[in-house]
């Protein structure tokens, strides 16, 4: 079985390399044609994607559009608009030490790249890296997640139909196909997913010295201070947590930290806003995504059912195993060594941890692994400064959640356990480019001190020349 998987993967990879080597993907025209083709897919087949996302995740059409499809079209449009500028060599001022000379950075593709995607935003997290790879002129294989099979099938069909199949391929499948793909030599690998598989990807890349981008996750904390506009904060918190795929999002708030006296106010506010958003029967609310599959459903209920959480569930807790739905659930003061506080939740459960002094919240966060995002709601300037300076995370948002990743001017990526590398906007183009430095020299200004036979005088000259010390250079030239 494994042999037959390799058999289909190897020729696909080799075919792409031949096409890439022919130079086909390098032209502006090819890149534009592919970006336009992708744009057509996202606009003409929006309905197909919505249906697939509903099938895989129970994702509401609005979420499907806002979080996935519109982001794909935006990425295409931005690339089309900026491509000329991104492709142009960047002039670089060269230093005195190489005078006279001129320099530039010439962006070039890596070559044949592999994009491995995930299941929670299966369209976005597959197509946005592919758009990036194409705009940088790479040939690309996309391996969508088998855990979201309808989305995977839709993408395989549509990309097969619209894109240049000789240079852009979708290979569907599970662990076996992924393993076979990782055994091939790629010029870059872009992986979105969890840190366990991230390690496997990085180790496989090491064999071929392939550079990688790992977009992982983590426990994204939210500090909620007391002197704030609580209603607005809670609305933003809810939309970032449950409004984003029922919390199954790498940048979703994972847990909240607030002060002991403020906790009940916070819980009440969350409770009433939740009801305004999702009604009195949230387990059956159609605006909420379901849990992706029974394996994750079991994982989440195990977190909830741990003895340590007994009596601590203050909102929700209802579940519907048949329909794989869990109501928005809030847990107050789960012990720090409970499963829910040690693992990435990736679901609609929100622990609130209370501290005596809000500043202790920063210590708690920095004692854990670096997350993909960290959030704080506060009007306290000093606390905000402290938080921004001391908390290391992929990205930080103040008085907001998740929305920072919609800004194309900001790089999106992790640090430490939450990953390495960035993309979005121009960072996407750079993620898939090697910016090759080029130095132009002429034949004037020969410095004989570079060459043997070496003498003390040459040493003196070199010392002055390398430090840019004009007086020293003159003195050395005059033999002083």
């Amino acid at each position: 079985m494994a042999a037959s998987v390799s058999v289909s993967v190897v020729p696909a990879a080799e075919g792409l390399r031949a096409v890439y080597t022919s130079g086909k993907t390098r032209t502006y025209e090819w890149r534009v044609s592919q970006l336009n083709a992708m744009l057509k897919i996202a606009t003409r087949h929006e309905k197909d994607f919505v249906v697939a996302l509903n099938s895989d995740l129970g994702k509401h059409e609005h979420e499907a559009f806002i979080h996935e499809i519109s982001a794909v079209t935006s990425a295409c449009r931005m690339a089309l608009k900026e491509l000329h500028r991104w492709m142009k060599p960047e002039k670089v001022k060269t230093s005195m030490t190489t005078f006279p000379s001129s320099g530039e950075l010439v962006p070039e593709p890596f070559g044949v790249v592999l994009v491995i995607s995930t299941w929670n935003y299966p369209i976005l997290l597959s197509l946005e890296p592919v758009i990036a790879a194409i705009s940088a002129a790479n040939a690309v294989v996309l391996k969508p997640s088998e855990v979201a099979p309808a989305a995977s099938e839709a993408m395989a069909k549509l990309l097969g139909q619209y894109m240049d199949a000789s240079a852009v391929k979708v290979i569907e499948g599970g662990v076996q196909e992924t393993t076979a793909l990782l055994e091939q030599k790629w010029d870059k690998i872009f992986y979105t997913g969890n840190n366990k598989v991230g390690r496997i990807v990085l180790a496989s890349a090491a064999v071929h010295l392939t550079p990688v981008i790992l977009e992982l996750g983590g426990k994204c904390p939210v500090i909620v201070d007391s002197d704030i506009n609580l209603t607005v904060a809670v609305k933003r918190l809810i939309s970032g947590k449950w409004g984003c795929n029922s919390g199954q999002t790498c940048v979703s708030p994972d847990y909240v930290i607030t002060t002991k006296p403020f906790a009940s106010k916070l819980v009440d506010a969350i409770s009433s806003e939740l009801e305004r958003f999702y009604g009195k029967d949230p387990v059956n609310a159609t605006d909420l995504s379901r849990i992706i599959n029974s394996r994750h459903f079991e994982r989440l209920t195990k977190l909830l059912d741990e003895d340590k959480l007994f009596g601590k569930i203050v909102i929700g807790g209802q579940r519907d195993k048949t329909n794989l739905k869990i109501a928005p659930t809030v847990i107050l003061d789960a012990p720090l060594d409970s499963l829910i506080m040690t693992e990435e939740i990736f679901g609609p459960l929100l622990p609130i941890i209370t501290v005596n002094d809000i500043r202790d919240g920063i210590d708690l966060i920095t004692s854990k692994e670096k997350p993909l995002a960290a959030y704080i709601f506060t009007n306290d300037k000093k606390l905000k400064e402290d938080f921004v300076q001391r908390v290391s995370a992929g990205g930080i948002a103040v008085n907001e959640v998740t929305i920072h990743l919609t800004d194309p001017a900001l790089p999106f990526g992790g640090v430490g356990e939450s990953g390495m590398g960035t993309y979005h906007g121009k960072y996407s183009f750079e993620a898939f480019s090697h910016k090759k430095p080029v130095l132009y020299r002429g034949f004037t200004g020969e410095i004989s001190a570079r060459y043997p036979p070496y003498t003390t005088r040459k040493l003196k000259f070199l010392k002055a020349a390398m430090s840019g010390n004009i007086i020293g250079i003159i003195r050395a030239l005059l033999g002083w």
């Binding site: 609005h62 935006s74 060269t94 090491a206 905000k384 090759k436 080029v438 570079r450 060459y451 390398m466």
Partner: protein, 486 residues
């Protein structure tokens, strides 16, 4: 848990914020400069001992590089540390975005033996400027330099934040088992793989500065220009550590009809620079040790390769000296043309036309540098567009290494990641995206319960169609009706 070489202390110092302030970083950079200038004679001595490196070469390629790098960092560190403002779309008004560089934490730097000072301490400049705590592991193959670095660093730099660990592969293995926030490695692809595999266990990002077969493409030149070209080629091949350099020239490509004149010019220049008796060569390093000496010699063993030697070839095993050697058209499948030479042997490959060099280079792994001597702009463009390498330098060799504004690093088998100048700072930093919003100007359409109005609003907003948005809000725009009943 064993505290391997005080790693726990380094992590603690980092968490305590010791290395974050600009004062600490600048103080360490100044201390490093002091270390170098006060111990210059000792460094020259150590380099002479380890590699037979002449002080001029030692200054040009090691001490001078390090000084320049630390000076450049001191001059620019404030700018580098400043947050970069990002612009935000009107939709997110009022808000503020910035990218804030922060240190990665505790980092590990592996030095190399061929430029044991600069390749070990130049990355340290980057790590310090970026505010990290550091462990430096110099190469044991350059023991005098390793020892000197180990002795001097604790005397000048902050011991709580910067440490030197000496030793061989067993020490390196143990270091690799620890958890680091970044690993910076200079060396061979073989060891690069080992490093990256170990780093994968902890999801540690790495920079690998490897090597490759760096070719020179030589077009035709006037006699006067050729004089300069030949000096640059000879200086670029045997000047840096007798060819034991990652960006050193590995082999040369030239048109058949130009070969013999080139060879005569090369011979004359080599004699002038280095002399012609292997027992009394001047201004050139020796081979680092017997292992590498034997390795380089074995490249000449094959009879067809030996027969292609047209200059040099003399060996002095006792003193680890190999005469600058030139070969003409050795077989392209012999190890001398498939492995990185890393020694004082220069194969010349002749071609019918110089444009054929592009295919020749592309048939081989991507090198760290490509050197092309040509006035032909069309050829220059072809080289840039049709080949891939860490860098390209036109009409010179090696010198891109001391240009602080150009990134230095490889691609493909020559590595990934880059440094020098600001890129050193960046390579040891995490650029953290920060978005600041206030509580005003709430966008209701963000929130459920969903309806068609909200969807249309967001659709327009995402396309930045502000006029359409206005019309929608004024009720003057036809709404898109969704297929779902609500």
């Amino acid at each position: 848990m064993e505290d391997f070489h005080g790693l726990i202390g380094l992590r603690r110092a980092f968490r305590a914020g010791k290395t974050r302030g600009i004062e600490w970083r600048m103080c360490q950079l100044r201390a490093l400069l002091k270390l170098v200038s006060e111990n210059e004679a000792r460094f020259f001595e150590a380099l002479e001992q380890d590699l037979g490196k002449h002080p001029v070469e030692a200054y040009r390629d090691e001490i001078g590089v390090l000084k320049k790098s630390a000076d450049h960092a001191l001059l620019n560190i404030k700018k580098w540390m400043a947050p970069k403002k990002g612009h935000l779309p009107l939709l997110l008004f009022p808000s503020r975005a910035e990218v804030l560089p922060e240190p990665l934490g505790t980092v590990l730097i592996f030095g190399s033996w061929n430029f044991p000072i600069s390749l070990t301490l130049d990355p340290l400049v980057g790590a310090i400027s970026a505010g990290n705590t550091v462990v430096v592991k110099p190469s044991e193959l350059a023991p005098a330099c390793s020892s000197l670095i180990c002795q001097t660093i604790p005397l000048y730099l902050d011991r709580e934040a910067i440490r030197v660990v000496e030793g061989g592969s067993d020490v390196a293995d143990k270091l690799l088992q620890q958890q680091w926030d970044k690993i910076f490695f200079t060396g061979s692809p073989r060891v690069g793989r080992i490093i990256m595999t170990a780093a994968a266990k902890h999801l540690t990002p790495v920079t690998l500065e490897l090597g490759g077969k760096c070719p020179v493409i030589l077009d035709s030149f006037s006699e006067s220009d050729l004089k300069v070209v030949v000096k640059r080629i000879v200086g670029g091949k045997w000047g840096p550590c007798a060819g034991q350099a990652c960006i050193g020239i590995d082999y040369l490509l030239v048109q058949k009809k130009l070969a013999s004149h080139l060879i005569e010019s090369l011979k004359a220049c080599i004699k002038k620079f280095y002399g012609d008796d292997v027992k009394s060569l001047q201004s050139i390093c020796r081979i680092v040790n017997k292992n590498h000496f034997d390795r380089v010699c074995s490249l000449l063993e094959e009879p067809s390769v030996g027969a292609s030697v047209i200059y040099g070839g003399s060996l002095d095993r006792e003193n680890l000296m190999i005469e600058p050697t030139v070969l003409l058209d050795p077989p392209v499948d012999a190890p001398i043309m498939t492995d990185e030479i890393f020694g004082p042997l220069l194969p010349i490959i002749t071609l019918d036309k110089i444009e054929d060099s592009i295919d020749f280079i592309n048939a081989r792994p991507k090198p760290l540098a490509i050197y092309a001597f040509t006035h032909n702009n069309k050829l220059k463009d072809q080289i840039l567009q049709e080949t891939s390498s860490g860098s390209v330098t036109f009409n010179d060799t090696m010198i891109q290494f001391i240009c602080d504004s150009l990134p230095f690093g490889g691609v493909g088998q020559s590595g990934f990641g880059r440094y020098h100048g600001k890129y050193s700072f960046d390579t040891f930093s995490h650029e953290k995206a920060v978005l600041h919003r206030s509580f005003y100007l709430e966008l209701e359409p963000r929130y459920p319960p969903w309806n068609d109005f909200k969807l249309e609003f967001i659709r327009l907003a995402y396309n930045f169609e502000y006029v359409g948005l206005l019309l929608l809000l004024l009720g003057l725009r036809r709404r898109y009706t969704s297929s779902r009943s609500h």
